[in-house]
Symmetry: D3
Subunit: 283 residues, 6 copies
């Protein structure tokens, strides 16, 4: 998967919203009181932890929407692997604007880099297998587009972006429909030719029923490696296989070794730690 920049038309509203949230009604009281308007500073975005950087477009926008005179020179672009001490970018311009935008820029950058880094960690853990790491819809309200972008930057892939771009039949849907077969029939009648259908299965019996009906992908939820391997064998390439259920870097290799196509991981977006990146003043 080729990661791609998000068009500014998508990111700018988020950055404006975050700046207004931080500026409130009075702006940056501290900086306005202490820093002379003519003071020029050179500062560096410096990694404090190893990881993968993501979100520089948003960080740059934060600075430049506060003051277009601020120049941002990027030395490690989104996707770069960084070590503690690495300079990611240098930010030069009026010190007032740099200080005022700093927190918003870092809030975006550290969060997205945290997601990219955790993704990369998992990707590395399964590199000997075919399994791809993907995220879920368990994202931060309002930030889904950029969080899923960060997963791509980290080398992962994206599951559904919303309720409307694919069918994912879960246990409760099956229960209401009455059977896997009936649920799949209704789904196939109900959606367009460009919509893929995935079904969550809890047992191999359900899996067999799904394969008999035909399905694009199966979500094998909370199965242990042995059962997963059996499921993959049963599928035999007739559907994409996805494993899920609290998988960690420690457990991912054994899951991947079962031959599943995808490992989906909710905590990549709902419980990930930021990557610590700081802004250091050179003068």
């Amino acid at each position: 998967m080729t990661p791609s920049s998000l068009p500014r038309v998508m990111t700018e509203p988020l950055v404006r919203m975050a700046l207004l949230e931080d500026l409130g009604r009075a702006g940056d009281l501290t900086t306005d009181a202490i820093v002379p308007s003519g003071h020029i500073a050179t500062t560096l975005l410096v990694a404090r932890q190893p990881g993968v950087v993501a979100g520089l477009d948003l960080a740059r926008l934060a600075f430049q929407l506060i003051d277009p005179a601020i120049e941002v020179q990027i030395t490690h672009d989104d996707g770069a692997i960084i070590a503690p001490g690495d300079v990611i970018a240098s930010i030069t311009g009026p010190a007032r604007g740099i200080l005022t935008a700093e927190r918003v820029a870092l809030n975006f950058l550290c969060r997205l880099s945290g997601i990219a880094s955790a993704t990369a960690h998992l990707v590395a853990a399964v590199q000997d297998h075919r399994a791809k790491i993907v995220c879920t819809r368990k994202t931060t309200p309002g930030l889904r587009a950029i969080e899923k972008y960060a997963v791509r930057i980290g080398g992962g892939g994206n599951h559904r972006f919303g309720l409307d771009d694919a069918v994912l039949i879960k246990d409760n849907h099956v229960a209401i429909a009455g059977s896997v077969t009936e649920a799949l029939k209704r789904a196939k009648r109900g959606v367009g030719h460009l919509v893929k259908i995935e079904l969550e299965v809890d047992t191999l019996d359900q899996l067999r029923e799904a394969l008999d009906q035909g399905v694009d992908a199966v979500l094998l939820d909370n199965m242990n490696p042995a059962t997963l391997a059996e499921a993959v064998a049963m599928v035999a390439g007739r559907a994409v296989t996805e494993a899920s259920g609290r998988i960690t870097p420690a457990t991912a290799p054994s899951i991947a070794a079962t031959g599943v196509d995808l490992i989906s991981i909710g905590w990549l977006t709902h419980s990930v730690a930021i990557l610590d990146i700081g802004l250091d003043f050179k003068n």
Copy 2:
């Protein structure tokens, strides 16, 4: 601190935004195709982990903005301590709406409960001391108001809500001003009578200089317990003392034992894990 509900006028725009983000342009393809519009379901929000619940107003709004016919009965309100298996609320009504709103409701509820739970954990860790746990401005873009609310629900307090409701003089401000003394003088000249002034100090010399000038609060950044204790003694009640710097439940007691008034913790909002809460169908 008495936690208070956020007025709906503040939360409703967030919930609408999150629902539209998830519904996209075609709505819930899966549910619309499989679940009959007349199907009524009774479901339960059930804790999967121990913790403190927060965010029920937002979860309820998610269901009711999708379908006002959905009834939400809360059995453990915000602030309640919950154990795995506890029923937090029952949600009854058209199954379509419940399934469509489920993910958005849980994304808010699990995140805010995660913050409240981590806060409560830290609060308990320092309960033998005067120190209060507070959060920072390292919040999720767009969610600051509700994340800080969750900290209050967990028994913590709030630091600044933005750049505009208090002065916090950091190292770079001091460097530009030339000295702690000059920075404090400028700040006092520059802000109104209802704005408090806090100063970050890295050394006891800086602290002495700040106390000589007079300051409402001092942020003692990355000091070890011994130095912190010395600082607290030097302050001698003349200012509020705040410790910060990657403090965890493990290290918090020794920090609190120094006598500081506040322990501020960025990861409470930027790197916290969700509290796992699920939606179980009863029929």
Copy 3:
């Protein structure tokens, strides 16, 4: 495909926007000057042409957002086939509000009913064949979700909802990639497991190349029936086949007779005439 109501959270912002566009800064000058505020009226939405009704939820919202005292009783719901003179709904309440909301309600209702009716006309024209009628992304800016809903109400299906929910490789993409093969390879590398890939082909050679690579769907653009039939035979069920290119109710049967799976029609949303529906006052 089961048509489904759009959640109010999706339609309400559109109706509010349209009402504000019509009310401007002074509201309904005519009605406010002439109609007493206590005057109650009973009015009927009456079909002036035969067709399929669509958009009643939006029409109802228009009336009720202007005055919640207005009651809307629907007698022919979305999807109903209506003849001239049929009463679609009765609207009773303060005459001021009914007159003020009338134009906005009808602008939504007549447009969406026009789309549904034209769709139903095409669906009927191909009813002896397997071909399904689908719309495109040539929709009215801002109204895509509701226009595609109207197509579903008319018995049609939906193609992509946007640039982000499926891959559609067009001639210019192929030209830039260098070949159909290369374009397909890049697409498969670039997107997730729930994203289908469709390719536009202009010749049978391109089609063969696409089938060799494997593709979910092929868009057979501007081919005559003979070539289309040949293409369908060549595909032999290995991909969904879609015909496009200025197809009308007159030409649709011969296109459908070729055995294609889908007929996509841009003018359903970009050049369709409204269905004439009027609001008649009974008293």
Copy 4:
């Protein structure tokens, strides 16, 4: 009437909204996967039908909001008469951005050019008479300002822009007021000195009553040419005369020959076909 450009402050929100509607949460999957970010293309907006071009400002904005590096050179500006094959503009720059913005740019341009072209067609049909072609409030929700602009570009004029910029007394207002006389009296009392008053009349008796009271304009609804001519004679210049009621290019000349001042046509905005304009890649 001198057509004038709409200020960007009015058009930019529409173009941003349309781009976000098309980009969804993941952006242009196809182009991002297939087209290298450095690929530069030269493309041409080419007329496929004869007509009048309108909406180039919005098309240009669509390209430049996606990528400011895209240059748009216009060769036939808004209002130009174009023939099939005419190049309207050349668009040069990064191919990714051109492909991503293409559909939104064309959706605006083709719709507005369709309106301008249909208007010009009608204007030509009545060119031997005094009658001016005008549009109505039967516009697309959200697009009224730009659709009425397109009518002006086609040589037509604009009727009311909303409920608040003029009085238009319709049959139901008259019925509620009790008489034409009473309706006009209330209207004159009710509105300001810069608001004109128009009254819809169905009979010559109503017309006589309106003229006795004094009125700025009369809407002669669904009258045949003979009655219209009689009405125009009765008015004798004391009010602006407007004919309406499903008038087409075929019937417009005979309507215009009655001497009416205005012919208003709802289908110009509610049921017009687009003008087909395509984007051709030169390399």
Copy 5:
């Protein structure tokens, strides 16, 4: 002129915006800390000055958007003449919500009542003459619709609502056109049949030229009463006459005595004092 309520669809966004502006990110710190959530209060909106009340719909919305349990009973509706001590409305419900919404409710109510009261004062000053008091476009950014509504409530009329609902040719337009005659010719060519044209004249020569061309209204700017009377005589009913230029309650009678139709007053909206209305707690 019959004053009319503004539809809630127009006022609700303003009240929501004002509440969010006041609540900020943390809500009402004082009330949340001090007032128990179950405390019920009965309060009264009481006039502190004589005047005309306007804006009760917005005040009521402020309370009910904060807490729908708050009941508002209006005893003196918009347009009522009130004396100091008069109870305008009683507000009963949870004290928290009443206190939180109080300032926003009063900010709207006192401002709009101030405008209505000043208008009524001027209307009374000219009651022996034909002159009507009207406002201008010198309104508060964002509040034009409600400020012009308040003028109507006070018995005045409205001038243009914006740049787009009438033509007002000012001195600079005339200067650029070259003459009054040329400016009027261009305006008549340029606008639709429902748009009135007014021209500002500084001299009687300009007035004569305008009347020769024909014009709907003339703005007689900064003329003394003698010149105004001469102008009115020259017009002789051929156009609406409007006087302007820093007219006060003291000077208005002599201006009105000249026989002008309208007196327009910018300070009604740009420099008016509020009407003092307070919220008194009964328990």
Copy 6:
């Protein structure tokens, strides 16, 4: 207090909103009809009254958002003291854009300059005393940030920006709490370490009770100078003292002479007259 520019990210949404409010759906009918698009004009913003200028950033934005080709050269920046006839700025560029933006630019500039000028007048009136002039939350809905900015430009200070950045305990809070002591205790428990607490007192007994409890500031409401002086003596520096209650330039000196720290004045923002500034065309 150092006045500081508001970041454009805060002002631009206000100026865009005001321009759209004035342009409506058809733009500037007058200018578009009369002024040729190529006409270039040089114009001057000229003071008609003495005062202090404020709001030039917003005025400049109004012109440049309508047409970026308009150049604005400022000769008297925000905070400058101006006399009648002084040129504040010269505006050069396309005459159309200048005329279209004129009213919005002046509406912002005259209002904010009016506030700054009235503030400066009061500041001068108390210059021999320690008292600082501050504003309140009685601001125009939507404009709080810029109105409080104007107060700073005039030499004044800001009280609370909203309900959430400080505690202000008023009489009704005290009544509900039962006593000053209880109200203060609840407030101190309820809010964070960076939130100051102010209490409104009506009597010296209440003041004594507040001082016993400790409080950051006391609002001495509607006290006469003698009582105020007694209060200030009783406080003896233990809290900031603030006087309020319809204080005017005439009464301010005697109030200030009591030694209070602050004089807060609601009418600075709710009832202030604009400063008259005009736009003169040079050619």
